[in-house]
Protein backbone atom coordinates (compact mmCIF):
# COMPACT_ATOMS: atom_id res chain seq x y z
CA UNK A 1 0.00 0.00 0.00
CA UNK A 2 2.79 2.38 -0.99
CA UNK A 3 0.27 4.78 -2.48
CA UNK A 4 -1.73 5.03 0.74
CA UNK A 5 1.44 5.81 2.68
CA UNK A 6 2.38 8.55 0.18
CA UNK A 7 -1.11 10.02 0.40
CA UNK A 8 -0.96 10.12 4.19
CA UNK A 9 2.51 11.68 4.10
CA UNK A 10 1.16 14.42 1.82
CA UNK A 11 -1.83 14.88 4.12
CA UNK A 12 0.53 15.34 7.09
CA UNK A 13 2.80 17.74 5.18
CA UNK A 14 -0.06 19.90 4.04
CA UNK A 15 -1.77 19.89 7.44
CA UNK A 16 1.45 20.95 9.16
CA UNK A 17 2.36 23.67 6.65
CA UNK A 18 -0.93 25.06 5.29
CA UNK A 19 -3.80 26.59 7.21
CA UNK A 20 -7.19 25.69 5.70
CA UNK A 21 -8.93 28.53 3.80
CA UNK A 22 -11.83 28.92 6.24
CA UNK A 23 -9.40 29.56 9.10
CA UNK A 24 -7.17 31.85 7.05
CA UNK A 25 -10.19 33.96 6.05
CA UNK A 26 -11.18 34.37 9.70
CA UNK A 27 -7.62 35.41 10.60
CA UNK A 28 -7.48 38.01 7.83
CA UNK A 29 -10.83 39.43 8.98
CA UNK A 30 -9.61 39.69 12.56
CA UNK A 31 -6.39 41.40 11.45
CA UNK A 32 -8.50 44.04 9.72
CA UNK A 33 -10.62 44.48 12.85
CA UNK A 34 -7.74 45.17 15.26
CA UNK A 35 -6.93 48.80 15.96
CA UNK A 36 -4.01 50.09 13.91
CA UNK A 37 -0.75 50.60 15.75
CA UNK A 38 -1.60 48.29 18.67
CA UNK A 39 0.40 45.27 19.77
CA UNK A 40 -2.69 43.19 18.94
CA UNK A 41 -2.34 44.32 15.34
CA UNK A 42 1.40 43.54 15.39
CA UNK A 43 0.61 40.02 16.64
CA UNK A 44 -1.98 39.42 13.91
CA UNK A 45 0.37 40.75 11.23
CA UNK A 46 3.12 38.36 12.29
CA UNK A 47 0.59 35.51 12.36
CA UNK A 48 -0.53 36.37 8.84
CA UNK A 49 3.08 36.54 7.58
CA UNK A 50 3.78 33.24 9.27
CA UNK A 51 0.91 31.52 7.47
CA UNK A 52 2.24 32.67 4.09
CA UNK A 53 5.82 31.74 4.91
CA UNK A 54 5.00 28.23 6.16
CA UNK A 55 3.05 27.49 2.99
CA UNK A 56 5.77 28.88 0.74
CA UNK A 57 8.54 26.95 2.50
CA UNK A 58 6.45 23.84 3.09
CA UNK A 59 7.50 23.84 6.74
CA UNK A 60 5.53 23.59 10.01
CA UNK A 61 3.31 26.59 10.78
CA UNK A 62 4.09 25.99 14.44
CA UNK A 63 7.04 24.06 15.86
CA UNK A 64 4.66 22.17 18.13
CA UNK A 65 3.24 19.89 15.47
CA UNK A 66 0.94 18.54 18.11
CA UNK A 67 -1.04 15.42 18.82
CA UNK A 68 -1.59 13.53 15.58
CA UNK A 69 -5.27 12.66 15.34
CA UNK A 70 -6.71 10.85 12.31
CA UNK A 71 -10.44 10.50 11.70
CA UNK A 72 -11.16 7.83 9.12
CA UNK A 73 -14.55 7.20 7.53
CA UNK A 74 -14.45 3.86 5.80
CA UNK A 75 -16.74 1.28 4.23
CA UNK A 76 -17.50 -2.14 5.65
CA UNK A 77 -14.61 -4.51 4.97
CA UNK A 78 -11.94 -1.76 5.02
CA UNK A 79 -8.60 -3.07 6.31
CA UNK A 80 -8.04 -0.93 9.40
CA UNK A 81 -4.82 -2.69 10.37
CA UNK A 82 -3.21 -1.98 6.99
CA UNK A 83 -4.29 1.65 7.32
CA UNK A 84 -2.74 1.80 10.77
CA UNK A 85 0.57 0.46 9.46
CA UNK A 86 0.60 2.96 6.59
CA UNK A 87 -0.25 5.83 8.94
CA UNK A 88 2.57 4.89 11.30
CA UNK A 89 5.09 4.73 8.47
CA UNK A 90 3.85 8.07 7.12
CA UNK A 91 4.23 9.67 10.57
CA UNK A 92 7.77 8.31 10.92
CA UNK A 93 8.73 9.64 7.50
CA UNK A 94 7.06 13.02 8.08
CA UNK A 95 9.09 13.35 11.28
CA UNK A 96 12.32 12.56 9.45
CA UNK A 97 11.49 15.19 6.84
CA UNK A 98 10.76 17.83 9.50
CA UNK A 99 7.01 18.17 8.74
CA UNK A 100 6.52 16.92 12.29
CA UNK A 101 8.69 17.64 15.32
CA UNK A 102 10.09 14.74 17.37
CA UNK A 103 7.13 15.19 19.60
CA UNK A 104 6.26 11.98 21.41
CA UNK A 105 7.71 11.29 24.84
CA UNK A 106 7.55 8.12 26.96
CA UNK A 107 5.58 9.37 29.97
CA UNK A 108 7.45 7.18 32.46
CA UNK A 109 11.06 7.29 31.29
CA UNK A 110 10.93 10.76 29.71
CA UNK A 111 12.67 9.34 26.63
CA UNK A 112 11.90 10.67 23.17
CA UNK A 113 12.90 8.11 20.54
CA UNK A 114 12.40 10.66 17.75
CA UNK A 115 9.87 8.65 15.72
CA UNK A 116 6.56 10.07 16.99
CA UNK A 117 5.35 6.48 17.37
CA UNK A 118 4.25 5.01 20.66
CA UNK A 119 1.16 4.25 22.74
CA UNK A 120 -1.47 6.79 21.66
CA UNK A 121 0.65 8.29 18.88
CA UNK A 122 -0.74 8.62 16.33
CA UNK A 123 -4.37 8.35 17.41
CA UNK A 124 -6.74 6.94 14.80
CA UNK A 125 -10.53 7.03 15.06
CA UNK A 126 -12.32 4.74 12.60
CA UNK A 127 -15.96 5.22 11.69
CA UNK A 128 -17.58 2.59 9.52
CA UNK A 129 -20.11 3.70 6.90
CA UNK A 130 -22.38 2.06 4.35
CA UNK A 131 -21.03 4.47 1.71
CA UNK A 132 -18.08 3.10 -0.34
CA UNK A 133 -16.13 6.36 0.14
CA UNK A 134 -12.94 6.49 2.20
CA UNK A 135 -12.16 9.83 3.76
CA UNK A 136 -9.32 10.70 6.09
CA UNK A 137 -9.25 13.85 8.16
CA UNK A 138 -6.22 14.90 10.18
CA UNK A 139 -5.99 17.33 13.08
CA UNK A 140 -2.61 18.37 14.52
CA UNK A 141 -3.30 19.93 17.91
CA UNK A 142 -0.49 21.62 19.81
CA UNK A 143 0.14 21.22 23.52
CA UNK A 144 -0.20 24.89 24.47
CA UNK A 145 -3.85 24.99 23.47
CA UNK A 146 -4.52 21.47 24.75
CA UNK A 147 -3.32 22.55 28.19
CA UNK A 148 -5.99 25.27 28.48
CA UNK A 149 -8.89 22.93 27.76
CA UNK A 150 -11.28 22.47 30.69
CA UNK A 151 -14.01 20.14 31.82
CA UNK A 152 -16.76 21.38 34.11
CA UNK A 153 -19.22 19.36 36.13
CA UNK A 154 -22.58 21.08 36.63
CA UNK A 155 -23.86 22.48 38.86
CA UNK A 156 -20.87 24.73 39.57
CA UNK A 157 -21.66 26.87 42.56
CA UNK A 158 -18.73 29.25 42.21
CA UNK A 159 -19.79 30.20 38.67
CA UNK A 160 -23.52 30.05 39.54
CA UNK A 161 -23.88 27.58 36.72
CA UNK A 162 -26.93 25.31 36.91
CA UNK A 163 -27.82 22.26 34.85
CA UNK A 164 -29.25 24.18 31.90
CA UNK A 165 -28.08 25.97 28.77
CA UNK A 166 -27.35 29.17 30.69
CA UNK A 167 -25.15 27.13 33.04
CA UNK A 168 -23.30 25.75 30.01
CA UNK A 169 -22.83 29.30 28.70
CA UNK A 170 -21.34 30.43 32.02
CA UNK A 171 -18.75 27.67 32.21
CA UNK A 172 -17.77 28.02 28.54
CA UNK A 173 -17.16 31.74 29.04
CA UNK A 174 -15.18 30.95 32.19
CA UNK A 175 -12.97 28.65 30.10
CA UNK A 176 -12.31 31.57 27.72
CA UNK A 177 -11.46 33.87 30.63
CA UNK A 178 -9.12 31.34 32.25
CA UNK A 179 -7.39 30.57 28.94
CA UNK A 180 -6.56 34.26 28.31
CA UNK A 181 -3.86 34.21 25.61
CA UNK A 182 -2.11 31.11 26.92
CA UNK A 183 -3.51 28.82 24.22
CA UNK A 184 -2.26 31.10 21.40
CA UNK A 185 -5.39 33.11 20.77
CA UNK A 186 -7.36 34.13 18.91
CA UNK A 187 -8.70 30.63 19.49
CA UNK A 188 -11.52 28.38 18.45
CA UNK A 189 -13.60 26.42 20.95
CA UNK A 190 -14.84 22.89 20.47
CA UNK A 191 -17.40 22.10 23.14
CA UNK A 192 -19.37 19.03 24.12
CA UNK A 193 -22.38 19.27 26.39
CA UNK A 194 -22.95 15.90 28.04
CA UNK A 195 -21.22 12.55 27.61
CA UNK A 196 -18.84 11.08 30.18
CA UNK A 197 -15.39 12.47 30.95
CA UNK A 198 -13.77 10.62 28.04
CA UNK A 199 -16.47 10.86 25.37
CA UNK A 200 -17.12 14.50 26.29
CA UNK A 201 -13.57 15.58 25.48
CA UNK A 202 -13.47 13.34 22.42
CA UNK A 203 -16.67 14.84 21.04
CA UNK A 204 -15.45 18.37 21.84
CA UNK A 205 -12.40 17.72 19.64
CA UNK A 206 -14.53 16.33 16.82
CA UNK A 207 -16.11 19.77 16.57
CA UNK A 208 -12.83 20.93 15.02
CA UNK A 209 -13.71 18.93 11.90
CA UNK A 210 -16.45 21.48 11.17
CA UNK A 211 -15.65 24.46 8.98
CA UNK A 212 -15.40 27.77 10.79
CA UNK A 213 -18.06 29.40 8.62
CA UNK A 214 -20.66 26.63 8.94
CA UNK A 215 -23.66 26.97 11.22
CA UNK A 216 -25.02 24.53 13.77
CA UNK A 217 -28.13 22.60 12.59
CA UNK A 218 -29.60 22.88 16.05
CA UNK A 219 -31.08 26.39 16.45
CA UNK A 220 -30.47 26.50 20.21
CA UNK A 221 -26.83 25.49 19.88
CA UNK A 222 -26.35 27.84 16.93
CA UNK A 223 -27.56 30.72 19.06
CA UNK A 224 -25.23 29.69 21.88
CA UNK A 225 -22.26 29.46 19.48
CA UNK A 226 -22.86 32.98 18.16
CA UNK A 227 -23.37 34.31 21.68
CA UNK A 228 -20.12 32.73 22.93
CA UNK A 229 -18.17 34.31 20.05
CA UNK A 230 -19.76 37.77 20.46
CA UNK A 231 -19.43 37.83 24.24
CA UNK A 232 -15.85 36.53 24.23
CA UNK A 233 -14.86 39.21 21.74
CA UNK A 234 -16.17 41.89 24.11
CA UNK A 235 -13.81 40.78 26.90
CA UNK A 236 -10.74 42.51 25.48
CA UNK A 237 -8.39 39.53 25.88
CA UNK A 238 -7.29 39.79 22.26
CA UNK A 239 -4.60 38.08 20.20
CA UNK A 240 -1.99 36.40 22.45
CA UNK A 241 -3.80 37.92 25.43
CA UNK A 242 -2.29 41.31 24.57
CA UNK A 243 -5.69 43.02 24.79
CA UNK A 244 -7.72 43.65 21.63
CA UNK A 245 -10.85 42.88 19.71
CA UNK A 246 -10.54 39.25 18.65
CA UNK A 247 -10.44 36.68 21.42
CA UNK A 248 -12.24 33.89 19.56
CA UNK A 249 -12.42 33.09 15.85
CA UNK A 250 -15.11 30.50 16.35
CA UNK A 251 -17.08 28.27 18.71
CA UNK A 252 -18.53 24.88 17.78
CA UNK A 253 -20.80 23.05 20.19
CA UNK A 254 -21.97 19.44 20.06
CA UNK A 255 -24.11 17.44 22.41
CA UNK A 256 -24.18 13.88 23.76
CA UNK A 257 -26.63 12.22 26.11
CA UNK A 258 -25.57 12.06 29.73
CA UNK A 259 -26.33 10.01 32.82
CA UNK A 260 -28.87 11.49 35.22
CA UNK A 261 -26.06 11.85 37.76
CA UNK A 262 -23.56 13.57 35.44
CA UNK A 263 -23.60 16.85 33.57
CA UNK A 264 -20.25 17.56 31.97
CA UNK A 265 -19.34 20.46 29.74
CA UNK A 266 -16.03 19.72 28.01
CA UNK A 267 -14.18 22.57 26.34
CA UNK A 268 -11.28 22.03 23.96
CA UNK A 269 -9.35 25.10 22.86
CA UNK A 270 -7.70 25.27 19.44
CA UNK A 271 -4.99 27.83 18.78
CA UNK A 272 -5.06 30.15 15.75
CA UNK A 273 -2.63 27.67 14.14
CA UNK A 274 -5.63 25.45 13.50
CA UNK A 275 -4.18 22.60 11.50
CA UNK A 276 -6.82 20.45 9.90
CA UNK A 277 -7.07 18.93 6.46
CA UNK A 278 -8.80 15.97 4.88
CA UNK A 279 -8.84 13.89 1.74
CA UNK A 280 -10.95 11.27 0.06
CA UNK A 281 -9.00 8.26 -1.16
CA UNK A 282 -9.38 6.12 -4.25
CA UNK A 283 -9.20 2.31 -4.31
CA UNK A 284 -5.39 2.28 -4.50
CA UNK A 285 -5.08 4.73 -1.63
CA UNK A 286 -4.46 7.68 -3.95
CA UNK A 287 -5.77 11.15 -3.08
CA UNK A 288 -8.96 11.97 -4.98
CA UNK A 289 -9.91 15.30 -3.50
CA UNK A 290 -9.12 17.67 -0.65
CA UNK A 291 -11.93 18.34 1.80
CA UNK A 292 -11.14 21.76 3.27
Amino acid sequence: MQSLQDSLLELIRRTSAEIPDDVHNAIVESLEREKKGTIAETAMKIIDQNIALAKQKSQPICQDTGSIIFYVDCPIGFDQLAFQDAAREAVKLATKKGFLRQNSVDSLSGKNDGTNLGPGSPTIHFHQNRSPEISVRLVLKGGGCENVGAQYSLPNEKLKANRDLDGCRKVILDAVLQAQGKGCGPGILGVCIGGDRATGYEHSKEQFLRKLDDRNDNAELDKLEQDIIDTSNKLGIGPMGFGGKTTLLGAKIGVLNRLPASFFVSVSYMCWAYRRHGVTLGPEGEIQKWLY
Partner: protein, 191 residues
Protein backbone atom coordinates in the same frame (compact mmCIF):
# COMPACT_ATOMS: atom_id res chain seq x y z
CA UNK B 1 10.73 49.31 17.76
CA UNK B 2 13.49 49.20 20.39
CA UNK B 3 16.64 47.29 19.45
CA UNK B 4 18.61 45.29 22.02
CA UNK B 5 21.71 43.16 21.57
CA UNK B 6 23.11 40.55 23.96
CA UNK B 7 24.83 40.83 26.40
CA UNK B 8 22.31 43.37 27.72
CA UNK B 9 23.27 45.77 30.54
CA UNK B 10 20.79 45.92 33.45
CA UNK B 11 20.21 49.65 32.95
CA UNK B 12 18.91 49.01 29.44
CA UNK B 13 16.50 46.33 30.64
CA UNK B 14 15.16 48.61 33.37
CA UNK B 15 14.18 51.17 30.72
CA UNK B 16 11.74 48.82 29.01
CA UNK B 17 8.00 49.27 29.60
CA UNK B 18 4.92 47.08 29.15
CA UNK B 19 3.83 46.96 25.52
CA UNK B 20 7.23 47.97 24.12
CA UNK B 21 7.96 46.26 20.82
CA UNK B 22 11.54 45.02 20.97
CA UNK B 23 13.81 43.50 18.36
CA UNK B 24 16.51 41.20 19.77
CA UNK B 25 19.87 40.40 18.18
CA UNK B 26 22.76 38.30 19.47
CA UNK B 27 22.97 34.99 21.30
CA UNK B 28 19.91 33.26 22.69
CA UNK B 29 19.82 29.89 24.50
CA UNK B 30 16.69 27.73 24.55
CA UNK B 31 15.56 26.02 27.72
CA UNK B 32 12.20 24.58 28.61
CA UNK B 33 10.62 22.07 30.98
CA UNK B 34 13.41 19.52 31.41
CA UNK B 35 16.15 22.17 31.65
CA UNK B 36 14.29 24.20 34.28
CA UNK B 37 13.59 21.17 36.45
CA UNK B 38 17.22 20.07 36.07
CA UNK B 39 18.60 23.46 37.12
CA UNK B 40 16.12 23.73 39.98
CA UNK B 41 17.32 20.37 41.30
CA UNK B 42 20.90 21.65 41.38
CA UNK B 43 22.05 20.58 37.92
CA UNK B 44 25.00 22.47 36.42
CA UNK B 45 24.90 24.32 33.12
CA UNK B 46 27.09 22.57 30.57
CA UNK B 47 30.36 24.30 29.64
CA UNK B 48 29.68 26.80 26.86
CA UNK B 49 26.26 27.88 28.09
CA UNK B 50 26.57 31.36 29.56
CA UNK B 51 23.33 33.04 30.57
CA UNK B 52 24.89 36.09 32.30
CA UNK B 53 23.24 39.26 30.92
CA UNK B 54 21.67 36.96 28.37
CA UNK B 55 18.37 35.64 27.18
CA UNK B 56 16.68 32.29 27.73
CA UNK B 57 14.09 31.24 25.17
CA UNK B 58 11.25 28.88 26.10
CA UNK B 59 11.29 26.97 22.87
CA UNK B 60 11.42 23.43 21.54
CA UNK B 61 12.47 23.96 17.94
CA UNK B 62 12.30 21.69 14.91
CA UNK B 63 15.95 21.35 13.88
CA UNK B 64 17.23 19.16 11.05
CA UNK B 65 20.70 18.48 9.63
CA UNK B 66 21.33 19.76 6.09
CA UNK B 67 23.35 17.91 3.41
CA UNK B 68 26.61 19.29 4.83
CA UNK B 69 25.74 18.00 8.29
CA UNK B 70 25.02 21.46 9.73
CA UNK B 71 22.05 22.08 12.00
CA UNK B 72 19.26 24.08 10.43
CA UNK B 73 16.33 25.40 12.41
CA UNK B 74 13.12 24.97 10.43
CA UNK B 75 10.54 26.02 13.04
CA UNK B 76 11.02 27.83 16.33
CA UNK B 77 8.17 29.64 18.05
CA UNK B 78 7.82 30.07 21.83
CA UNK B 79 6.25 27.45 24.11
CA UNK B 80 3.91 28.19 27.04
CA UNK B 81 5.97 29.72 29.84
CA UNK B 82 3.74 29.25 32.85
CA UNK B 83 4.99 25.68 33.30
CA UNK B 84 8.37 27.14 34.30
CA UNK B 85 6.81 29.38 36.97
CA UNK B 86 7.97 27.15 39.88
CA UNK B 87 11.61 27.37 38.68
CA UNK B 88 12.10 30.57 36.67
CA UNK B 89 12.79 32.94 39.60
CA UNK B 90 15.71 30.80 40.66
CA UNK B 91 17.20 30.61 37.17
CA UNK B 92 16.93 34.41 36.84
CA UNK B 93 18.59 34.87 40.22
CA UNK B 94 21.36 32.30 39.88
CA UNK B 95 22.41 32.82 36.28
CA UNK B 96 21.96 36.58 35.81
CA UNK B 97 19.36 36.48 33.05
CA UNK B 98 18.19 39.80 31.57
CA UNK B 99 15.38 38.42 29.50
CA UNK B 100 13.11 35.42 29.16
CA UNK B 101 11.30 34.86 25.87
CA UNK B 102 8.15 32.77 25.94
CA UNK B 103 4.43 32.99 25.49
CA UNK B 104 1.35 33.25 27.66
CA UNK B 105 3.03 35.17 30.48
CA UNK B 106 4.27 34.15 33.91
CA UNK B 107 3.21 34.54 37.54
CA UNK B 108 4.07 36.37 40.72
CA UNK B 109 7.36 34.63 41.53
CA UNK B 110 8.82 35.49 38.13
CA UNK B 111 7.42 39.02 38.30
CA UNK B 112 9.17 39.52 41.64
CA UNK B 113 12.45 38.03 40.38
CA UNK B 114 12.35 40.31 37.32
CA UNK B 115 11.93 43.32 39.59
CA UNK B 116 14.59 42.28 42.03
CA UNK B 117 17.29 41.13 39.62
CA UNK B 118 16.64 43.30 36.55
CA UNK B 119 15.03 41.02 34.01
CA UNK B 120 12.01 41.26 31.71
CA UNK B 121 9.62 38.83 30.10
CA UNK B 122 9.54 39.11 26.34
CA UNK B 123 6.39 37.70 24.75
CA UNK B 124 6.99 36.06 21.39
CA UNK B 125 4.15 35.44 18.97
CA UNK B 126 2.97 31.94 19.76
CA UNK B 127 2.69 29.67 16.75
CA UNK B 128 4.68 31.99 14.47
CA UNK B 129 7.36 29.35 14.05
CA UNK B 130 8.38 30.32 10.51
CA UNK B 131 8.68 34.08 10.98
CA UNK B 132 10.72 33.46 14.12
CA UNK B 133 12.88 30.69 12.59
CA UNK B 134 13.84 33.18 9.86
CA UNK B 135 15.34 35.41 12.56
CA UNK B 136 17.61 32.54 13.65
CA UNK B 137 20.67 33.09 11.50
CA UNK B 138 22.78 30.33 12.94
CA UNK B 139 22.47 27.27 15.16
CA UNK B 140 25.81 27.55 16.98
CA UNK B 141 25.55 24.54 19.23
CA UNK B 142 23.33 22.09 21.08
CA UNK B 143 23.77 20.85 24.64
CA UNK B 144 22.19 17.97 26.58
CA UNK B 145 20.63 16.55 23.44
CA UNK B 146 21.30 12.96 24.50
CA UNK B 147 19.76 13.45 27.90
CA UNK B 148 16.67 15.51 27.04
CA UNK B 149 15.89 14.90 23.33
CA UNK B 150 15.71 17.54 20.60
CA UNK B 151 12.74 19.68 21.74
CA UNK B 152 14.02 19.84 25.34
CA UNK B 153 17.74 20.28 24.64
CA UNK B 154 19.60 23.60 25.11
CA UNK B 155 20.08 25.10 21.65
CA UNK B 156 22.41 28.04 21.10
CA UNK B 157 21.07 30.39 18.44
CA UNK B 158 22.43 33.53 16.84
CA UNK B 159 19.38 35.70 16.17
CA UNK B 160 18.85 38.90 14.18
CA UNK B 161 15.86 41.22 14.77
CA UNK B 162 13.81 38.67 16.67
CA UNK B 163 10.46 40.44 17.38
CA UNK B 164 8.95 40.37 20.89
CA UNK B 165 6.68 42.44 23.15
CA UNK B 166 7.51 43.32 26.77
CA UNK B 167 4.66 41.96 28.89
CA UNK B 168 6.42 41.81 32.29
CA UNK B 169 8.83 44.64 33.02
CA UNK B 170 11.57 45.01 35.63
CA UNK B 171 9.42 47.22 37.87
CA UNK B 172 6.70 44.80 38.97
CA UNK B 173 4.21 45.39 36.13
CA UNK B 174 2.51 42.64 34.17
CA UNK B 175 0.31 43.08 31.11
CA UNK B 176 -1.09 39.59 31.82
CA UNK B 177 -2.37 40.68 35.23
CA UNK B 178 -3.88 43.83 33.75
CA UNK B 179 -5.67 42.04 30.91
CA UNK B 180 -6.94 39.29 33.22
CA UNK B 181 -8.40 41.80 35.68
CA UNK B 182 -10.01 43.90 32.94
CA UNK B 183 -11.49 40.89 31.12
CA UNK B 184 -12.80 39.41 34.36
CA UNK B 185 -14.56 42.68 35.20
CA UNK B 186 -15.99 42.84 31.67
CA UNK B 187 -17.25 39.25 31.79
CA UNK B 188 -19.13 40.00 35.01
CA UNK B 189 -21.37 42.32 32.95
CA UNK B 190 -22.51 39.48 30.68
CA UNK B 191 -23.15 36.54 33.02
Amino acid sequence: MIKVRTPIPEVEIRKLKLGDEVSISGTVFTGRDAVHKYLHEGGQLPAGVNLKDGILYHCGPVVVKDEQGNWKCVAAGPTTSIREEPYQWQVIRDFGLRGVIGKGGMGEKTLEACKQHGCVYFHGIGGAAQVLAQCIKKVSNVYMMEQFGAPEAIWEFEVENFPVIVTIDAHGNSLHKEVFAASQAELAKYV
